[in-house]
């Protein structure tokens, strides 16, 4: 009834090309952003911020990055946590060696350094694809893990190999409390989402999708695989690097070499499978799902009154993750984002479907 685009005529190129062509969508998105900035800090508890919302927001950035690579460009990566760790350690070293640098600049530089490393490890993608590339990215994961665990310079010669981040200062504003952290991360996420959303509908994004759908055909119509693949690796690693820096500085505060292990890489991949490959919105859904599910599983047996050991719960988590991945791949390969799109279609016809 309310959700119709009837009567919304596009009379200028500008209005035809805007991000959200339907007025109701625009209102909805502005409303969600306003609620997120203003209402959430009033209702959510400190625990909610620390355990759910902040990790969700940061992992969403990383998931968008991985989605650009896997969902839009079709290049699989099993080593994305390694690019996050590059961002985190780059930010740490920038802060150590250039104290007082604005954290926003640190964030961008960390992203750029991660992008550079991503491009280096993306070079094999020009020669190998699919399953072979999966192994090449595994190489990146294990090698980068090893470098940060062993080369003392990166951890500033910390004896245990673990590093602790200093407070984040932005234009003289120290980001310390949960609400401040939340605002900061949310702001970064909004900017990154806009960036991603606009990139994937630009000619760069279109060349990624052409490569994904059929690389030989894409190169025949004049898309350079070199540019497309490496730019996907660069952008994807940039997102991962920014997410990694936030993960280290805002969420963890102090971290050990194994904080960015292969399990995080797998979790990121699960996020985009469940959320929806080739969808920015899907990255949000997937990240929310993967963050909330373990917490819900922890609470559920207690609420139902079934005694369950923590080991049992973690095994259960493994089983449910595994089963869900297979289920989504079979039943809804486009993930939760597709379900959302179906819901929207239904809403347009409601209450009088043909």
């Amino acid at each position: 009834m309310l959700y119709r685009e009837n009567g919304q005529f596009k009379t200028t190129y500008r209005s035809d090309q805007q991000l959200l062509p339907i007025t109701q969508d625009r209102f909805f998105v502005w409303g969600v952003v306003a609620l997120a900035f203003l209402l959430v800090p009033l209702v959510a508890s400190d625990y909610m911020f620390r355990a759910v919302i902040i990790p969700f927001l940061i992992l969403t950035i990383a998931a968008i990055g991985l989605n650009i690579l896997v969902g839009y460009c079709g290049q699989i990566s099993l080593g994305h946590a390694a690019f996050m760790s590059v961002g985190a350690y780059a930010a740490y070293n920038l802060v150590v060696h250039a104290p007082g640098l604005n954290f926003l600049i640190v964030l961008v530089l960390a992203g750029l350094i991660a992008a550079l490393v991503g491009v280096v490890f993306g070079v094999p993608s020009l020669r190998i694809k699919g399953l072979y590339l999966a192994v090449a990215t595994l190489a990146a994961q294990f090698f980068i893990d090893w470098v940060f665990a062993r080369v003392k310079w990166f951890t500033n010669y910390a004896p245990s190999g673990s590093v602790s981040a200093s407070d984040v200062v932005l234009f003289g504003w120290t980001i310390a409390g949960p609400v401040e952290k939340y605002w900061f991360v949310l702001g970064v996420l909004v900017v990154m989402t806009l960036l991603a959303k606009n990139l994937v509908r630009s000619h760069v994004g279109r060349s990624w999708m052409a490569i994904r759908d059929m690389d030989v055909a894409a190169s025949v119509i004049g898309i350079q695989p070199l540019h497309a693949k490496l730019s996907a690796f660069a952008v994807s690693s940039f997102f991962a690097g920014v997410a990694g820096a936030l993960w280290g500085f805002i969420y963890l505060g102090a971290w050990e070499p194994l904080a960015f292990s292969i399990n995080l890489s797998f979790n990121l991949l699960f996020m985009i499978i469940i959320g929806g490959m080739g969808s920015i919105l899907g990255s949000y859904f997937g990240a929310a799902f993967i963050v909330v599910l373990p917490l819900a599983l922890n609470q559920l047996p207690r609420l139902l009154g079934i005694p369950m050991s923590t080991a049992m719960i973690s095994h259960l988590e493994f089983m449910i993750f595994g089963a869900l991945i297979v289920l989504f791949l079979i039943a809804e390969p486009h993930g939760l984002a597709r379900l959302w799109a179906i819901g929207k279609e239904k809403l347009r016809l409601w209450p009088f479907p043909h």
């Binding site: 080369v151 003392k152 095994h315 493994f318 993750f321 089963a323």
Partner: protein, 347 residues
């Protein structure tokens, strides 16, 4: 001659590896006896990698699935074997360890066959004609699932498998090298079992009707189907065979290192092995395993200390990534692996 010209990058790489391996000896960094010991140790772990890689290759050949779950299958089978060998004597009162182990082996084998059937029924059947990457992710899901199930059913501690293999180290070739070479009889037995398994598989593939059908499917799905070979049955069989290979690998590893969760991480090393050897080649899996096993040991023992000294590292651990780097180097010069089939893209 033209062949030589075309293949020069591969030949250069192999030559570089050989020279790198001979370096410690040439530079006098190690005593010849110690060198041979490291070599043998590398070969032994290489045999174990080969066993896991074998399962990968079997499944990839027959169904085009890059089975990420092979490592998890090894862990599951090893856990089943360890716990069943413990439980069956308790339940039935069988005294003899041999009979207990045999029974446990049979039951575990049955479980792996059942698992293969379930995978075909619940997963593969619904994902026919999907892209390789989708199938890879599905097997990642299977990995998580059986990791969870395995630890729920069998427990998540460290277990031992007592196969009754001799564990005493022996000295050989004392006349040839100063101090002789120390080898483990258990390792020899493991290598023997692995060789036997490969032989059995070769016989199965070459001499039986089922084996012929498997090879037909591996060559061409559609052609095989058109002459009446049931694809679904073949998939069950091939996953079952891979499961049994996983069981044998798990048993040998379990008796050597103990059955524990970290087995899956070690089993992940089978990925570079198959990449190096070629995804569709059984001899490639064997040779690849040996190359990776030896290369890794050499890197850790001889290259590690040099790197640590040169770059002031906080310890070695090159083993963690060396296999992947080696596979990557091979990929760049020969994307199809040592013995794999060349891909040809068609628009």
């Amino acid at each position: 001659m033209g062949n030589l010209k075309k293949n020069w990058p591969v030949i250069t790489l192999i030559a570089a590896i050989l020279v790198g391996m001979a370096m410690p000896l040439l530079l006098g960094l190690s005593a010849p006896g110690f060198y041979v010991e490291v070599l043998l140790g590398g070969l032994m772990s290489g045999v174990l990698y080969s066993l896991v890689a074998l399962g990968f290759v079997l499944i990839f050949k027959a169904s085009g699935v890059f089975n990420f779950a092979q490592g998890a299958m090894v862990l599951f089978a090893a856990l089943a074997m360890a716990r069943l060998a413990e439980w069956i004597p308790q339940l039935t009162g069988i005294e003899s360890r041999l009979v207990g182990n045999m029974l446990a082996f049979l039951v575990a084998m049955g479980l792996m066959v059942g698992f293969a059937w379930l995978v075909e029924r619940l997963v593969l059947r619904h994902l026919v004609n999907q892209e390789g990457v989708v199938l890879l992710m599905a097997t990642l899901g299977i990995t998580y699932f059986i990791d969870g199930v395995g630890q729920t059913v069998w427990g998540s501690d460290i277990y031992e498998i007592h196969l009754g293999l001799p564990k005493t180290p022996t000295m050989i070739l004392e006349g040839l090298f100063q101090g002789g070479i120390l080898i483990n009889q258990e390792d020899l037995a493991a290598a023997l079992v692995a060789g036997l398994l490969v032989l059995l598989l070769a016989l199965f593939f070459q001499k039986t009707a089922t084996g012929r059908a498997l090879r037909a499917v591996a060559d061409d799905h559609q052609a095989a189907q058109s002459i009446g070979i049931p694809l679904n049955t073949i998939w069950v069989i091939v996953w079952a065979v891979a499961g049994i290979v996983a069981l044998v690998a798990g048993m040998i590893w379990g008796s050597k290192l103990g059955v524990q969760f970290s087995l899956t991480l070690v089993a992940l090393k089978a990925l570079p092995v198959v990449i190096l050897g070629g995804l569709t080649s059984v001899p490639g899996a064997i040779l690849g395993g040996l190359i990776i096993g030896v290369g890794e040991k050499f890197a850790e023992v001889f290259l590690g200390p040099v790197l640590v000294k040169a770059f002031d590292l906080a310890g070695g651990g090159i083993e963690n990534w060396f296999a992947y780097a080696l596979a990557l180097a091979f990929l760049l010069v020969r994307p199809e692996g040592l013995f794999g089939e060349k891909h040809i893209d068609r628009v």
